[in-house]
Symmetry: C2
Subunit: 108 residues, 2 copies
DNA sequence: TTATCATATGAATACATGTTCACATAATAA
DNA sequence: TTATTATGTGAACATGTATTCATATGATAA
C-alpha cells in the first residue's frame, strides 16, 4: 500500500456534511418517478394535478415526491389560488441531468 | 389544466429505458460510501485494500460497493498480480460530481 | 503440493424508501 | 356557513438496499 499517497488523499477528502448532502442529492435523483418529474419540469412549471395527469401517478404520490425534491432544493413552488406550481430551483439541475444523460446514452 | 401543453410535453418524454438507466445511475451515486469511493478515485486509481484503509470500511463492503459502481459503468478495474486496481470509467463522472457539488455548496 | 494474500460473493439482518389509503389543510365558490 | 377543489401528510405495507459474516475464488510464494 502506498501509505504516503493515501495520507495525501486523506487530507483532500471532503467534509462529512458535504458528502452527506451530495449523496442525499444524488439519492433523491435516483428514482424513476422523480426523474420523470424533473424531466417535465425542465420544459415548464407545472401544478400537482398536471404532473399527476401527465405521469399517470396519484396526486398523493406526486405530492410526496415533490416534497422530497423540495427538501433537497431541487424544486421550488409558487402558489396561485388553490394551485401550487412547481419548477426547478436552479440551472445546475439541468447540467446535472445533461451530464447524467451523456453517461447513460454512451453505454446503452 | 393546460391539455395542449401537456400533450406536447408528453411527446418529448424520454423512453422508459433511458429513465430507468438514468435513475439507477443517480441511485448508485446516492450513497455516502460510494460517493467517498468516487471522490478518492478522482485523485488516483486504488486497489481494494487501499480503499478499505483510506475509508475505514471492510474489504467486503468496499468490494460490494465497487461491484455496484462497476455494474453501472461508473468505475473500471485492472488486475495487477493479486491486486485489482479501480478507477473511474470516464470523464463524465467528474463533471457530474462537480455539478452536484456546485448545487450542494450553494445551499449550505 | 500447501500456505498465504487479495478480492469476490451469497445469505442474513437491519434499515431505508415508495406507494397507497385515509384524512387533514387551504383556498375558493355557493 | 357549507361544499368543492387542490394539495399536503401520517401510518402502514411492501420492496429495496448496505453491511456483516462466512466462505469461495484466484494469484503468488514456499
Amino acid at each position: 500500500m502506498r501509505i504516503k499517497l493515501l495520507a495525501d488523499i486523506k487530507k483532500g477528502m471532503k467534509r462529512r456534511i458535504v458528502i452527506e448532502k451530495l449523496s442525499r442529492t444524488f439519492s433523491v435523483l435516483g428514482d424513476a418517478t422523480r426523474i420523470r418529474i424533473i424531466f417535465v419540469l425542465l420544459r415548464e412549471e407545472l401544478c400537482v394535478a398536471e404532473l399527476s395527469s401527465l405521469l399517470q401517478i396519484s396526486h398523493s404520490a406526486i405530492s410526496h415526491q415533490l416534497r422530497a425534491l423540495k427538501d433537497l432544493d431541487l424544486v421550488k413552488s409558487r402558489k396561485e389560488g388553490k394551485k401550487v406550481y412547481y419548477s426547478l430551483s436552479d440551472r445546475h439541475i439541468e447540467n446535472l441531468f445533461n451530464e447524467g444523460l451523456k453517461h447513460v446514452l454512451e453505454k446503452i
